[in-house]
Amino acid sequence: MEGFAPKASSYASQWDWFFFVLVTVSSIVVATVFVAIVHFSIRYRRGVNARREPVSETFSNRLEFSWTAGTALAFLAIFWWAAAFQLRDFVPPEGALQIHVIGKQWMWKIQQPNGVREIDEIHAPIGRPVQLIMTSEDVIHSMFLPALRLKQDVLPGRYTYLWFNADKPGVYHLFCAEFCGTSHSRMTGRFVLMTPTEYSRWSAAQPEADNLARQGQALFSSLGCSGCHSKSSSVPAPDLHGVFGNPVQLSDGRSIIADEAYIHDSIVLPEKDIVAGFAPIMPSFAGQVSEEQIIKLVAYIRSLSTERHP
């Protein structure tokens, strides 16, 4: 770990700038109040000769009005700046490298897109957008990457997302920031940023692993999904080709984009969003498939959407 509060992205540098502008503004306000109090305390201390006649009504009303309006406007300005800063980089660019993260008491399980698995370590390349797709197997955790000035809670039963475009290779902290039980403070790890060439060299050197979609395909048949979700099946279940990433019409009239969260819910809570034209007959796989397996299934179903109706 190098330096005082190391920064590994241009976002982090801008963040620091914002932060220290606020520190400066606040210090000026604190100093003003302190100076006023000290000044009055000396000038108007008891027993000292000073002007003490009442302040005129109009003067005090004007004063009240101006500092009320002044603080309100100043606060609105800070809000505007903060909100604009937040929204500017909220949506990640297309084609981000997607890394899956699972929080579990008390470890981080990482799956790189090429199927490489890591524990308590995230390797990521600099110079390109990287998206973390995160979920938890038990309680709420929180992915905290101080070098990027980013944090996002990791929730059970839901996916949350975080993206960054880092620019400085190095080894940084990775913390769990939401209290998650006994070894909460040991749920830390290494966040390794590498140049793209180093990154591909690193992932090539890892033990040979099938890619996620291929692992998902194997699960799809071993869990029995393919028994219903196939053309030849007698059970009326939706065909999953071309689903991922597209709107799905539901039986109660709503329409929903089939994203990771939708596939996830369809596996563990199948009666939540039922596709129009189908009966709610799919059993829940909650407790039978792990979050890791769901990630693989999602990757497989995602891969099906590129090839339509083989």
Partner: protein
């Protein structure tokens, strides 16, 4: 004594009739209107009880203020909480997809 009791008895009968109506309505399929109707009748019944049995009508404005502010705070609780739930989808997955409808 008698006039007041008669009036309250009338309210009581009305409450029972409303109960009958809402119970009967539940066996017809009214879609989402059904929920509105059921909650509307329940609201009416509660209003009758509060205004007449609990005599909010004849109470001081101070007492009415209590009841009203409790309701404003309920609205606040629901409104701000649902401002989260109704806009969760806007978070999106933050990944852009081409918009086209799935064909089954």
């Amino acid at each position: 004594m008698t006039w007041g009791v008669l009036r309250h008895a009338g309210v009581w009968i009305l409450l029972l009739l409303l109960l009958g109506a809402t119970a009967a309505s539940s066996s017809f399929d009214l879609g989402e209107n059904g929920a509105v109707l059921r909650l509307g009748i329940a609201g009416l019944q509660v209003l009758l009880i509060w205004l007449l049995f609990m005599d909010l009508l004849g109470s001081s404005s101070l007492v009415r203020l209590c009841a009203i502010s409790a309701f404003l705070w309920i609205l606040l609780l629901f409104g701000l909480t649902f401002s989260d739930y109704f806009t969760r989808g806007w978070n999106g997955t933050s990944t852009r997809y081409p918009a086209r409808t799935a064909t089954w």
